[in-house]
């Protein structure tokens, strides 16, 4: 298990796919837990529409998870040592493709959600 989350070397394609799937699963699970918790804690007395509040909570959730993920990245680097980061090696990128997917995916998810929230509260919308 530790190999999946803290090993940055590339061994095989199947291993890499398992690793990506595991990261997506854990991230999804953590995001849901954080989101669920925050929906019960944030904006309870806010007079905005409920749906807008929930979408705002989702953005906060992504942000919170992003912080946690960065902490994880820090631990990953410190555990493997700075010398293990071979920025010029293609194999290195194959080894950290799961982390990269989550990192980029989180950013993309955040901005997509932000855009849809902006659309909802846009004055031309009646939703």
């Amino acid at each position: 298990m530790e190999n999946i989350f803290f090993d940055t070397s590339y061994t095989s394609l199947s291993q890499m796919l398992i690793k990506v799937f595991a990261f997506l699963l854990v991230s999804g699970l953590l995001l849901f837990v954080i989101y669920f918790t925050l929906t019960k804690l944030l904006f309870r007395k806010n007079k905005h529409r409920k749906e807008i509040n929930l979408r705002l909570v989702l953005l906060w959730t992504i942000f919170a998870y992003f912080i946690l993920f960065n902490v994880y990245i820090f631990i990953l680097i410190s555990k493997n040592g700075i010398d293990s980061l071979h920025w010029t090696s293609a194999k290195f990128y194959l080894g950290i493709i799961a982390q990269l997917t989550i990192y980029i995916g989180l950013l993309a998810y955040f901005f997509i959600n932000r855009h849809s929230l902006t659309k909802i509260i846009n004055e031309k919308s009646i939703n």
């Binding site: 849901f32 529409r49 409920k50 749906e51 929930l54 004055e123 031309k124 919308s125 009646i126 939703n127």
Partner: protein, 802 residues
């Protein structure tokens, strides 16, 4: 002995004379008339109304309508045995306003009856009531005379006065049986420099004098069958004594420059009579009649030395009224808590946008409850039922059925039936905003901008609603509703157990959108009402104000201060009144010498205004000085009628006059002291009274039997005045008991009075031949070919006296 007195004014001149008499009385006694006196005014011109003093008006108006003259003639022909004086039905069609200068039309007005009322009956009732009032005013007063004295006044140049004055005399004799003291005071035109263009005036006056002379002869009887059924065959003349006055002195020199000056002198004469000189005159006149020194016709001369306290008061009050009107109609600045500020349109717009949001919120909140049912609670319950699956059919269809315009008992129907309550909130709140703005700023432009900017906010709101796809159309709403209902069932947030809250929220949003859809029509109507005035919208207590109301109000108030481009001839205005007062004060032909402590009218006015500013607590005028705590908007709304300008003018003037008076801004002035210091000038004024206001060829020899005296507030001071005159060898006014009349309340004026009689106007009036010519011959070159010589003469005649 208090003499019960009725003074009857006929026509517009009669009204002006009565107004002056009332005014002089108010200036002296601070009431409009004593209790033993009644003023009646009879008029054919509907638009003329008496102008009161600061404490109101005590002239009773009797309007004798000339509507449907042809029908009135037809009725009189049958009910009065076809009197020969009746005007030709074709002539009356050209009479125009009032009696149109046609004497028989004036007479017809008094005799006739139409849908507006029974004129003859109304006149009789008015005189009967006045008679009852003056005789019963003080039943315990043993000093009250048994018979009243009646004065009839008016001019003989128009149709009304010259038409009814003889009937009026006999009518008074009919109502007050055995009356002896009935007098006429009639105004004649002065000697004409050019008669062309004034033939009607002179012709009417000649006809009237001729008719009067006819009935004054004992061999001629007044034979008429009146519309009230009485047949009269009277030997007595209509009046015991008729006094004629004009703008001329006896030698033809101009005595009084303006017609208003003549009304003033006639008013002063009547005022002096009711104030107390009548008893003194009567003593003399009885003796004069016994010695054949007076006859049936009289005239008089009158002059005075006066500190014009009343004119100063009116001038200052007019200036103060103008200042207040400027404040109300200032388009650039307003006062708030005594501070002058610029009207910032941007700031008003911003405030009104916020205010309208609040109004909208309140209006929508009223739609949440229908018949004590809270619709929001019901919607929440419905949301829970949908999520629990306790509904029939699909959630989308259920949601549509809740809000569709086609439902009869759904939320749409409930709110739609309750939309009037939202309208009430809109109207009442907008009214409140405008009203508060007007009450606090007393500026009509500011209040208008408030209304205009609220409407602009409504417009912006409607545009926004339109941009999000809302409209007042039901079909459009139902289409939008379907999209919203589908949206409600997507992404329900059930995973985080927020599906109930989200659905409730979404249904509430649809409910709010439905309120907007239903309010669009209401808001459009409000805009139409305010901007175009096409429809009338009322809230629970007030009608919504309109922009046109403010525009109209500002325009009318601007007219009152002369701030208008339009030429509104004859319309009442403070600037015009200021000019009139200045004209009156500077009129050197009026036999009244105006004197001042500071030797200047302007300085007296400035001083009075300064005193007012100090004593009233500031130099910013407020409408509370006029209407006290009354609501400004209500006040102006109540005044929105045909007589707006007149009523506002009078309200403002009366209020400020009363305050100037109460705050004692103008002190009395001792006239006797002035006379002692300026005796020569005073003698010149006194001498003017010895020439009557009528150009007659006869020489009037002074007689001790005829009234000639000086009137003042203190007999000793009059003696001082006469003594000062004697020292300058001026002895026209004797220092005897008969030569003095003390009226203790008559402050700020000394009057010189001299009465003449024993002449026949038909022969002695120096320009009687010109008048006769105007009466008998149609003027050459008249454009109207209908006026034949016979018709002209008929129009100048009203009694069968040939």
């Amino acid at each position: 002995m208090a003499t019960p007195t009725i003074i009857i004014g006929i026509g517009t001149s009669g009204l002006y004379t009565l107004e002056n008499a009332q005014r002089f009385y108010y200036e002296t006694y601070k009431t409009n008339k004593p209790k033993n006196v009644e003023f009646i005014y009879i008029e054919t011109n509907e638009s003329n109304r008496p102008v009161g003093t600061p404490i109101g008006n005590d002239i009773t108006r009797v309007y004798i309508s000339l509507d449907n003259m042809a029908e009135m003639i037809a009725e009189l022909k049958t009910s009065c045995n076809n009197p020969s004086w009746l005007p030709d039905s074709r002539v009356v069609l050209t009479a125009g306003l009032g009696a149109g200068g046609i004497r028989s039309c004036g007479r017809l007005a008094m005799w006739g009856r139409n849908q507006r009322g029974d004129n003859f009956g109304n006149v009789i009732n008015a005189i009967t009531n006045a008679y009852a009032k003056v005789m019963h005013v003080n039943n315990n007063d043993t000093n009250l005379a048994a018979q009243p004295t009646v004065f009839v006044t008016g001019s003989l140049t128009g149709g009304t006065g010259a038409g009814v004055f003889i009937d009026m005399g006999y009518l008074v004799r009919h109502i007050i049986q055995n009356i002896k003291e009935i007098y006429g005071l009639f105004l004649l035109p002065n000697e004409p420099k050019v008669i062309r263009g004034f033939e009607v005036m002179y012709g009417n006056a000649y006809g009237a004098i001729k008719d009067l002379e006819f009935y004054n002869k004992i061999e001629n009887n007044y034979k008429e069958m009146w519309p009230n059924g009485f047949t009269k065959d009277l030997e007595v003349p209509p009046y015991e004594l008729v006094q004629f006055i004009s703008q001329d002195y006896q030698d033809g020199a101009p005595a009084i420059n303006t017609l208003s000056g003549l009304y003033k002198m006639a008013g002063l004469y009547l005022f002096l009579n009711i104030a107390g000189i009548y008893e003194k005159r009567r003593e003399r006149l009885v003796d004069a009649a016994g010695n054949s020194l007076i006859g049936k016709y009289g005239t008089f001369g009158l002059s005075a030395i006066q500190f014009p306290k009343d004119q100063i008061q009116e001038f200052v009050s007019s200036q103060l009224s103008i200042e207040l009107l400027h404040r109300l109609t200032d388009s650039g600045e307003y006062y708030l808590n005594g501070q002058k500020r610029s009207i910032s349109r941007a700031s008003i717009k911003q405030n009104m946008a916020v205010a309208f949001d609040g109004i909208l919120e309140s209006a929508f909140a009223t739609l949440n409850t229908v018949e004590a049912r809270d619709l929001l609670v019901l919607i929440d319950k419905d949301a829970t039922r949908i999520n629990k699956g306790e509904i029939k059919g699909s959630p989308v269809e259920f949601i549509i059925s809740m809000f569709t315009s086609t439902g009869n008992d759904n939320y749409h129907a409930l709110v739609n039936n309750n939309i009037k309550s939202a309208l009430n909130v809109f109207v009442d709140s907008i009214y409140q905003q405008v009203d508060t703005a007007l009450q606090s700023t007393e500026n009509l432009y500011y209040s208008k901008y408030v209304l205009e900017d609220i409407v602009e906010s409504i417009g912006r709101t409607l545009n926004y609603w339109k941009s999000i796809g809302l409209s007042s159309q039901s079909q459009n709403w139902d289409n939008e509703l379907r999209k919203l209902a589908i949206g409600c069932t997507n992404n329900t947030y059930k995973s985080v157990f927020e599906h109930d809250a989200v659905l409730k929220d979404r249904l509430n949003t649809i409910f709010e959108l439905m309120k907007m859809h239903l309010s669009i029509r209401v808001l459009i109507d409000i805009c139409k009402h305010v901007k175009e005035g096409k429809i009338k919208l009322e809230g629970s207590t007030h009608e919504l104000p309109k922009l046109a109301f403010f525009d109209d109000l500002i325009k009318k108030l601007n007219t009152l201060i002369g701030k208008t481009d339009e030429l509104e001839n004859g319309s009442i205005s403070f600037t015009r009144r200021l000019n009139d007062i200045r004209g009156d004060i500077n009129d050197t032909t009026l036999p009244i010498l105006r004197v001042y402590p500071s030797n200047s009218f302007s300085k007296e006015c400035e001083r009075a205004k300064e005193t007012y500013t100090q004593r009233s607590g500031g130099n910013v005028r407020s409408i509370t000085e006029v209407i006290q705590q009354q609501n400004i908007l209500n006040y102006f709304k109540q005044k929105q009628n045909n007589k707006f300008n007149e009523e506002i003018y009078l309200d403002f003037l009366k209020a400020f006059r009363l305050k100037v008076d109460t705050l004692n801004c103008i002190e009395d002035f001792n006239i006797t002291a002035y006379i002692r210091n300026s005796t020569e000038e005073s003698i010149r004024t006194a001498r003017k009274a010895t020439s009557p206001f009528l150009k007659v060829n006869r020489v009037f020899t002074p007689s001790p039997y005829l009234p000639r005296f000086v009137v003042g507030d203190d007999a000793n001071e009059i003696t001082d005045v006469l003594s000062a005159f004697r020292n300058q060898n001026y002895n026209d006014f004797p220092d005897t008991i008969d030569g003095k009349k003390e009226l203790t309340d008559l402050k700020n004026i000394i009057v010189f009075y001299d009465e003449k009689g024993n002449y026949i106007p038909l022969t002695d009036l120096s320009y009687i031949n010109l008048m006769k010519d105007a009466h008998e011959n149609v003027p050459s070159g008249l454009a109207d070919e209908n006026i034949t010589s016979e018709r002209w003469k008929n129009n100048r005649s009203a009694y069968t006296t040939n």
